[in-house]
């Protein structure tokens, strides 16, 4: 089971640059000892977007050597993943690119998690637990949703594939998520496991106050409503939209889905 990787310090102020800023010339600005810190941040951001996982390690060690606040690095990750998500939805990037971006994030997380822990930073981000239901081993869709949700500022615990109702219950008890994301690719697992998982999680709602959103190619809005989900996303963008609207209490089954 993966753990949440990001924690936000109470006094942390986000960086004030955006993705639309001028392009970066890597070769001339990345000069080692006398580097421009912002340029390094920008490089990290762009490396994630481009999925240059083979270059991340070197840059990361430069940043860490310079005693950079690890939370600033997480902010870069968030900005980058947001852009990756946007570019995926406009088909400028593809799953292969997303996967490489995810590899970059994984390498970054592995490097900075110990630092965050040792500095005792406290989390303020809300947690989402998600996974593919029992009997279903399709992981790519949930992976994309995970990236989109991380980009939207959530800590996402992706339990992975073939997750039984008991495993979801255990994760709820451990992480107290505000949302549970359930994915089913196959029509069989949608019909059987997804339904069964929601039934199993229902009794926990009063104690843990979470909402359930569902998705996957075999899940339609009508079906999602029928099996007792609180929200539905037929793609990653809609999943984020559903989460936001449910949080704000303005989710409307009839209006949220793309027709």
């Amino acid at each position: 089971m993966r753990k949440p990787f990001s924690t936000i310090h109470e006094n942390y102020k986000p960086l004030n640059f955006t993705i639309e800023e001028a392009p970066i010339d890597y070769q001339t600005k990345f000069t080692g000892d006398t580097f421009d810190l912002i340029t390094l941040y920008e490089q990290l951001r762009d490396m994630i977007i481009k999925g240059e996982s083979h270059l991340i390690q070197e840059l990361l060690s430069q940043l860490l050597k310079a005693n950079i606040d690890p939370l600033r690095i997480l902010d870069i990750v968030s900005v980058a993943m947001n852009t990756v998500g946007q570019r995926f939805s406009t088909r400028e990037l593809f799953i292969a690119d997303l996967w490489m971006a995810a590899r970059c994030v994984e390498l970054i997380k592995n490097a900075i998690e110990p630092l965050i822990k040792s500095q005792g930073l406290t989390t303020k981000r809300e947690t989402i637990v998600m996974g593919t239901v029992e009997g279903d081993v399709h992981s790519i869709g949930p992976k994309i949703v995970e990236l989109f949700l991380e980009g939207a500022g959530y800590d996402v615990i992706n339990l992975g594939v073939d997750i039984s109702p008991d495993q979801f219950i255990e994760a709820i008890q451990q992480h107290h998520p505000v949302f549970i994301g359930l994915s089913a690719w196959l029509d069989t697992t949608a019909n059987f496991s997804l339904r069964q998982t929601i039934q199993a999680l229902d009794p926990l709602r009063s104690e843990y106050h979470f909402k359930i959103i569902v998705g996957g190619p075999s899940v339609t809005r009508k079906f999602a409503k029928e099996i007792g989900a609180d929200g539905y996303g037929n793609n990653a963008e809609e999943a984020v939209q559903a989460v936001t609207q449910l949080k704000e209490g303005c989710y409307n089954w009839e209006l949220t889905s793309v027709e």
Binding site: L55, I95, A96, V137, L186, D187, T220, V258
Partner: protein, 471 residues
């Protein structure tokens, strides 16, 4: 089916097709053969991928586990399906599914078997490059043998329809052996390595790959191996006495959104094309590819036209590529697709998703299929239409409606009737008296001799196409 027999069948089908005006009817096999050769048959052809249908849809007492080893039950179920629906072609005959039918279990991929779910692989077996040494083609045993037995028996017992082998193609086979994520990563590493501008970056990629247990050019090597595995699997069909004519290669994961079409054409297609050349003599029904938009479809066709090579592709809009809307339907403009295919002289395969078949009303299904069928007739394009899968909770009558719409609206007209100008519509072809033309119902009625005809087209068009007439 030998080449000579195939040739005879095609000639017979072509002659019969021209004699339709005299009441000659095509068999389902003849219809699908003509579609396969990009010729206009008598009506829009239909195909069912059997293993995509829940066994409970046909017989509620059966589960997937019941069907794993029982050849007779598989065959009986298929025959029941064929008896109920006027389908022209059947593929994926074994209820173990396309993965077991491609011999993946016998290659060493672990599977999970439950009563309520398709047999699903639970892990991948090529974790690092060295694992390739242990990969072997499937022997004729176990589930793979059962699938071959089912195939033989169905082919024998249903000789008038096209029954074609269904094999997992190169890239998709790699996804199941190596995992989609790692295969995509292998491709990206190879791509970066080939495009690296400095020796330093090349070394960085080498180090990165080494940490993953592979090397930068591993992708090319593994793709070659996967193609060989597919070909050997097809060879096993032949060894077992199965005619591979009309075989389908299922290439699911190389399409958008997994890969951009440029990446597909540069890094994946050459492997598939090499494989295709080896099996060309069996007239493969196609290698499925799933462009996610009309624009990307055009790129694919342009590529084929530029290189003057036949594109061995059934292009399918599917749930994994085309976004599906909240009603479970593809956001795919079939009419636009049909126009594009007509422009490039390519046949078209239209898919109706199982979620739409499950959740939409009978009227919605009828209208959807009717629109596709009429557009096919109007464009005079060979079209194959299929409900991609059927779930156990789908109303069987909805599937009746699907086929009813194909049969009522998917009849191609003989060349004589192809185009009618507005003026021609207004004159009865039997008694030459003025007719009543109702564009709303798309009907022509002659009050004098009671000739009636249904046509495709509307008042804004220059001409209409008569699709059915009755004297």
């Amino acid at each position: 089916m030998g080449l000579l027999k195939l040739l005879k069948l095609v000639i017979k089908a072509s002659i019969k097709n021209k004699l339709r005006g005299f009441g000659v009817k095509l068999t389902p096999l003849e219809r699908i053969l003509l579609f396969n050769l990009n010729k206009i048959p008598d009506r829009v052809a239909t195909i069912l991928a059997v293993a995509n249908i829940h066994p409970q849809f046909i017989d509620p007492s059966l589960s997937w586990v019941d069907l794993l080893h029982d050849v007779d039950k598989n065959v009986e179920l298929t025959k029941k399906l064929y008896k109920r629906y006027p389908v022209d072609s059947l593929t994926m005959l074994y209820w173990g599914g396309p993965l077991l039918g491609s011999g993946l279990y016998e290659m060493g991929v672990p599977f999970q078997f439950t009563e309520w779910n398709y047999p699903t692989n639970t892990d991948n077996i090529i974790k690092i490059a060295d694992d390739m040494d242990n990969i072997h083609p499937p022997e004729i045993e176990g589930y793979f043998e059962t699938s071959l037995q089912v195939f033989c028996k169905v082919q024998e017992e249903l000789p008038t329809i096209m029954v074609s082998p269904f094999l997992t193609s190169t890239f998709t086979l790699g996804c199941f052996l190596r995992s989609t994520e790692l295969l995509l990563e292998d491709l990206k590493c190879y791509q970066r390595y080939m495009q690296a501008e400095s020796e330093r970056e090349k070394r960085q990629i080498e180090d990165y790959c080494q940490n993953l247990g592979s090397y930068p050019t591993f992708f090319m090597d593994e793709m070659k191996t996967y193609s060989e595995l597919v070909l050997t699997t097809l060879q096993r069909y032949k060894e077992y006495g199965i005619d591979p004519t009309g075989c389908v290669f299922w290439e699911l994961y190389a399409s958008p959104p997994s890969l951009d079409i440029d990446e597909f054409l540069t890094y994946v297609y050459p492997h598939i094309y090499e494989m295709y050349k080896s099996v060309k003599r069996y007239h493969p029904l196609g290698i499925t590819y799933y462009p996610d938009s009309v624009e990307r479809w055009r790129i694919l066709f342009d590529y084929a036209a530029r290189d003057k090579q036949y594109l061995p592709t059934i292009s399918l809009p599917a749930a994994i590529t085309f976004p599906i809307n909240a009603n479970g339907d593809l956001e795919c403009d079939h009419q636009a697709m049909i126009r594009l295919c007509k422009e490039y002289d390519q046949p078209y395969t239209a898919t109706i998703l199982p979620y739409f078949m499950r959740d939409a009303s009978k009227e919605e299904i009828y209208q959807k299929v009717k629109d596709i069928a009429e557009a096919s007739v109007q464009a005079h394009l060979p079209v194959l239409i299929s409900p991609a899968a059927l779930t156990n909770d789908t109303d069987p009558e909805k599937v009746d409606v699907f086929f009813q719409a194909v049969c009522e609206h998917g009849n191609y007209t003989l060349p004589f009737y192809r185009k009618h100008t507005k003026q021609q519509l207004q004159e009865c072809p039997v008694c030459q008296q003025p007719t009543e033309v109702c564009y709303e119902d798309r009907k022509v009625i002659c009050p004098s001799c009671h000739y009636t005809a249904r046509f495709a087209g509307d008042e804004h068009m220059d001409y209409a196409v008569i699709i059915h007439e009755h004297n």
